[in-house]
């Protein structure tokens, strides 16, 4: 079994308009795939389809060369998805938020691991402040701490750079490259220009089709 997410002739229609058609994807270990395109070109929709959240599409999805329907459990066990909404509860502290995610993902509850994750994203001193009192960027950082807290092979990140400051962006970029180099795989949408590297590949959406160029 190897990390491989494939899509064959994927098509999605929204309000009588094709977001994309005949989209073939082959995403393997060690890659950072950046989905780009103008606003409304279907980047988030594509990410939601690829992470198994939308069933309203045509085409076939494969995980590790098995059809997604059969491989869904194994797929979910390897997926870490960060959506537009950070999924951080305002009334809970960062530590409590992470505790839930840690338990959901089947990790052993470990306060030390949660502290370490928060330290990595630069939230030392904010562990016990309700997330609602943190800034938007800090809340995003709480969500990003999950990348460290729960090791998963496939990262699907929808605009992870939103509201993050410059140092944070650089650190996150480094983290994405590190993840790809250690055999993981990253699927990301962002308007932020990623530093070119050997692992980076682009998929352009918009205009009804997609060209899968470098």
């Amino acid at each position: 079994m190897s990390l491989r997410l494939q899509a064959q002739s994927l098509a999605c229609e929204r309000d009588d308009r094709w977001l994309f058609r005949d989209l073939d994807l082959d995403i393997r270990a060690g890659e950072i795939v950046r989905v780009e395109g103008p606003n409304g070109s279907g980047k988030t929709t594509l990410l939601k389809i690829l992470s198994g959240q939308l069933a309203d599409y045509e085409g076939e999805l494969f995980w590790s060369e098995r059809p997604m329907r059969e491989a869904r459990e194994s797929f979910l066990a390897n997926l870490l998805y960060l959506g537009h909404a950070p999924g951080v509860k305002a009334a809970l502290t960062p530590l409590e938020n992470l505790a839930w995610y840690q338990a959901l993902s089947g990790e052993k509850p470990s306060e030390a691991a949660r502290f370490r994750a928060l330290e990595e994203v630069g939230l030392v001193g904010f562990e016990d402040v309700p997330a609602g009192q943190l800034s938007a960027g800090q809340q995003r950082r709480v969500a990003l701490a999950r990348l460290i807290l729960t090791p998963r092979a496939l990262w699907v990140l929808d605009e992870p750079f939103t509201a993050i400051d410059r140092d944070g962006v650089a650190a996150l970029e480094r983290r994405l490259v590190e993840h790809a180099r250690s055999g993981g795989c990253v699927l990301v949408t962002t308007h932020h220009e990623l530093t070119p590297c050997a692992e980076l590949r682009r998929i352009r959406l918009g205009g009804g089709g997609a060209d899968d160029g470098i």
Binding site: G87, A91, W100, Y101, A153
Partner: protein, 245 residues
């Protein structure tokens, strides 16, 4: 099996075959998290209780303070008010999670969604149905409910409100994606509430008349067993429909 897999296993991002046995941990964490959340937003917990108390307080003033008349309508009145109070609190069951994106995350866990949703419903019952059941006897005094029926009132409400929470959660899950789902939720759920209301109020009525209450309570228990076995699956399916729609 292959060299590439070995290298993957060594890597930080090792592939996992199947989810681990973390189901109990995940359910427990969801219970704890929801309890903590509700305890930090006490007004949401108090809302249905205050509504219940207000309605019951207003009835003797509005109708008549005559104990005989009030005692006759008390079982139905207490049950209807408790049912509406529980219904009132249902809309927010999944709403907050939907708004901040954690519902999306809940759907993407490898753990069975039905059981995680059941944990959320259990918290709803613990903080709504159970307090309503405990409060009802006190309000019963105000309606001069005949002595001897207080325990039955509390038991029937505790059993019945658990069914109400479970059935209502299906409606809440179906309407979570709608911006104003409150009215639709009531319309969807009320027909399914009727059997619970009939047997719940019937149990209290029987206790007043001195009939056997066990039959009514047994039917309430059966309804709860049915809801407990089927509702989690329906809630999970409804959540998927709402999110994928």
């Amino acid at each position: 099996m292959t060299a590439s897999e070995n290298s993957l296993n060594r890597a930080a991002a090792a592939l996992r075959e199947e989810p681990g046995d973390g189901l109990a941990v995940a359910v427990w964490a969801t219970l704890k998290r929801d309890l903590l959340l509700m305890l930090r937003r006490r007004s949401e917990v108090l809302n249905p209780l205050v509504f219940f108390a207000l309605v019951i307080t207003l009835f003797p003033i509005g109708i008549s303070p005559d104990p005989a008349l009030l005692a006759a309508i008390a079982p139905g009145l207490l049950w209807v008010a408790a049912l509406l109070a529980a219904l009132l609190s249902l809309d927010s069951l999944f709403r907050a999670d939907y708004d901040d994106g954690s519902l999306e995350q809940l759907l993407l866990t490898p753990q069975p969604l039905a059981l995680l949703a059941l944990a959320k419903v259990a918290v709803h019952w613990l903080l709504t149905g159970l307090p309503l059941a405990l409060m009802a006897p006190v309000l019963g005094i105000m309606l001069s409910l005949p002595a001897g029926s207080y325990a039955v009132l509390a038991i029937s409400l505790a059993l019945g409100s658990a069914s109400l929470s479970l059935i209502g959660a299906i409606g809440a899950a179906l309407t979570v994606g709608l911006s104003r789902g409150g009215v639709l939720l009531s319309l969807l759920v009320l027909p399914l509430y009727i059997p619970v209301l009939i047997f719940g109020a019937g149990a209290v009525q029987a206790a007043i008349l001195g009939d056997g209450v066990l039959a009514h309570l047994a039917i309430l228990g059966a309804l709860l067993a049915l809801a407990l076995s089927l509702a989690p699956l329906a809630i999970a399916a409804s959540l998927r429909i709402s999110i994928n729609g």
